[in-house]
């Protein structure tokens, strides 16, 4: 299996604190990679460096072997890299359907065709399918800001898939989602992973969710990679146990 994403020696300093301290790993085509670690260990900062939301202090990111360090988030998204957010990030005043249409529109045509072309660029159909897939049918015309926390999390995930991404970085998709909705979410992630051949990297604190979803798990602590391997290997790793349980 070839690597979709190769991250080499990424560093990010905030003042004197190094939030990410030389992290290297690669993500294989079609896999679901889990990323775990205690709060503040640099997981989200690592995501933001990979996605161009932060400029890394050092190191490089390659997508399909091509250097993409320093590209803007919108440019990376157009190359097929999408994400979800730890905190709710939807467009509150737009309806659920409009949120999804918006999530797909920049992947079609160019600036000119988006101005003079059809207003939905044929995306309503795709949005409706996504709404059905995530069981948001009864909420399609509601403003996204009026949805419950868990529903907004689902919408956020649905938006990440609208552009047909190859690689999706999910930042705590299970946080604040109730157990029944969570098993729905997992089922859907697995389905998209298999059917669309999308590759995922998932930050998550819910161990059961990570261990059952992911083929490999990477553990971070204090800005460094502590361990990487199959879920059962990682679970037994003494360094990991120490990082999580303390001395």
């Amino acid at each position: 299996m070839s690597a979709v994403l190769e991250v080499t020696n990424i560093k990010k300093n905030f003042g004197g604190i190094s939030a990410v301290d030389g992290v290297s790993f690669d993500v294989r085509e079609g896999e679901i990679l889990g990323l775990i670690g205690p709060n503040g260990c640099g997981k989200s900062t690592l995501f933001n460096c990979i996605l161009g939301q932060l400029t890394p202090s050092g190191g490089e990111v390659k997508l399909d072997g091509k250097l993409v360090t320093g590209l803007r988030p919108s440019e990376l998204n157009k190359l097929g890299v999408s994400r979800t957010f730890q905190l709710l990030q939807v467009f509150p005043k737009l309806s659920v359907r409009e949120n999804l249409i918006l999530a797909g529109q920049e992947h079609q045509g160019n600036m000119a065709s988006r101005l003079v072309g059809r207003s939905d660029a044929g995306l309503t159909e795709a949005a409706n399918q996504m709404i059905g897939f995530f069981k948001l049918d009864h909420l399609a015309d509601e403003p996204a800001g009026g949805l419950s926390y868990g529903q907004q999390k689902l919408l956020d995930a649905a938006m990440a898939f609208m552009g047909g991404p190859r690689l999706v970085l999910l930042d705590e998709p299970a946080g604040g989602v109730n157990p029944s909705m969570l098993s729905d979410l997992k089922e859907r992630l697995v389905a998209i992973n298999r059917e669309k051949n999308a590759t995922f990297v998932v930050i998550e604190h819910n161990m059961e969710f990570v261990m059952s979803l992911c083929s490999r798990v990477m553990v971070m602590a204090e800005g460094k990679v502590l361990a990487m391997g199959r879920p059962d290997e990682v679970r037994k790793n003494p360094a990991v146990i120490e990082a999580y349980l303390g001395h």
Partner: protein, 332 residues
């Protein structure tokens, strides 16, 4: 506005348009001037509504763009150029300057952006006043001609009112098209959540600059009509207070609502006329009315309507739920 049935909305729209064409035929010179001014200010406010209401970028410089358009039209038409050519130049010039003014918005937002645009507004005023070789300085430019459209002279107030109304119609259609296109959606994304927008492939830089440039260009169109309307311009009407007036039109009408600027401009232009009988108290009454409105509804007049519609929908939905619940109970 979704509470109205569609045929009713169309009928209402046609009635308003017909009234705007027919009723002013009996107006005197002054009435036509006020109504033409309403049309011109609506165009400028629509531009600001695009920048501020839809794209969420604060601008205190819209009045400066009206000035740029007005001076472009005044200088060109007094040198023998036709008005349509002047309008094209006014659009191009204010689009370009608006684009450049958009750059600070890529770095600063909210009140900081307000200050940057305020500084620009002052700068533009100083250019209008001090560069007298071009602008006539404090003496301004007089004898600005009104155009011949398809061979018809528009010197008289009524024909020129139709020029303003026609321009308003064209601009309204263009803006309607724009906000319903993916661009309009991208503008709203800038306002609602730029971080999320970026990660969905929305080129926030380019759309921010476009929101400024297009909004400013409409200010330029308004200015290019304002010059032949008054037939004399000096720097005073284009100082900061015009920018503030336009901002108030957008806020009072309802920022981010399509019909907000029409309503806001109507209030700002016509209310002083209606309150004329109160003599010196007009401004105080106006100020109190605006304060009360914004306390009651920070989203402007159309915000009130929007809330009423939402309340009605909620009521209808809960009535449906109540019916469904009672059915469920009967079954049990």
């Amino acid at each position: 506005m979704s509470g109205f049935a569609k045929p009713l909305k169309i009928a209402l729209g046609l009635a308003v348009i017909a009234a705007l064409i027919v009723v002013p035929m009996n107006f005197n010179r002054y009435g036509l001037f006020i109504l033409s001014q309403w049309a011109v200010m609506s165009i400028a406010a629509m531009g600001l509504n695009l920048t501020l209401g839809y794209a969420g970028q604060v601008s205190l410089a819209q009045g400066a763009f009206v000035g740029i358009g007005a001076y472009a039209a005044a200088i060109m038409t007094t040198h023998g150029w036709p008005l349509p050519a002047a309008i094209v130049v006014a659009i191009a010039l204010s689009f370009a300057v608006g684009w450049v003014l958009g750059y600070p918005a890529l770095r600063v937002q909210h009140h900081y952006l307000a200050f940057v645009t305020l500084a620009f507004s002052t700068l533009a005023f100083l250019v209008f006043r001090n560069e007298s070789w071009l602008t006539g300085g404090i003496y301004g430019i007089s004898n600005i001609p009104r155009p011949h459209i398809f061979g018809i002279a528009t010197n008289k107030p009524l024909p020129f009112y139709y020029v303003c109304l026609g321009s308003l119609a064209i601009v309204s259609l263009a803006v309607w098209w724009l906000i319903r296109s993916p661009w309009g959606r991208a503008f709203m994304a800038l306002r609602e959540n730029p971080l999320r927008a970026q990660s969905l492939g929305v080129d926030t830089r380019r759309y921010t600059l476009m929101a400024f440039a297009i909004g400013s260009a409409l200010g330029g169109v308004a200015g290019a009509l304002y010059a032949p309307l008054t037939q004399y311009i000096d720097p005073v009407p284009f100082n900061l207070s015009l920018s503030l007036d336009l901002l108030m039109m957008v806020i009072v009408g309802g920022a981010g609502f399509y019909f907000g600027p029409f309503l806001g401009a109507m209030i700002a232009v016509l209310l002083p006329e209606w309150l004329r009988f109160t003599e010196g108290y007009y401004l105080m009454l106006y100020a109190v009315a605006v304060m009360l409105l914004l306390i009651w509804s920070p989203t402007g007049i159309l915000g009130i309507l929007d809330r009423a519609m939402a309340a009605r929908r909620t009521k209808a939905a809960s009535a449906l739920r109540a019916v469904a619940k009672s059915r469920l109970e009967t079954v049990q």
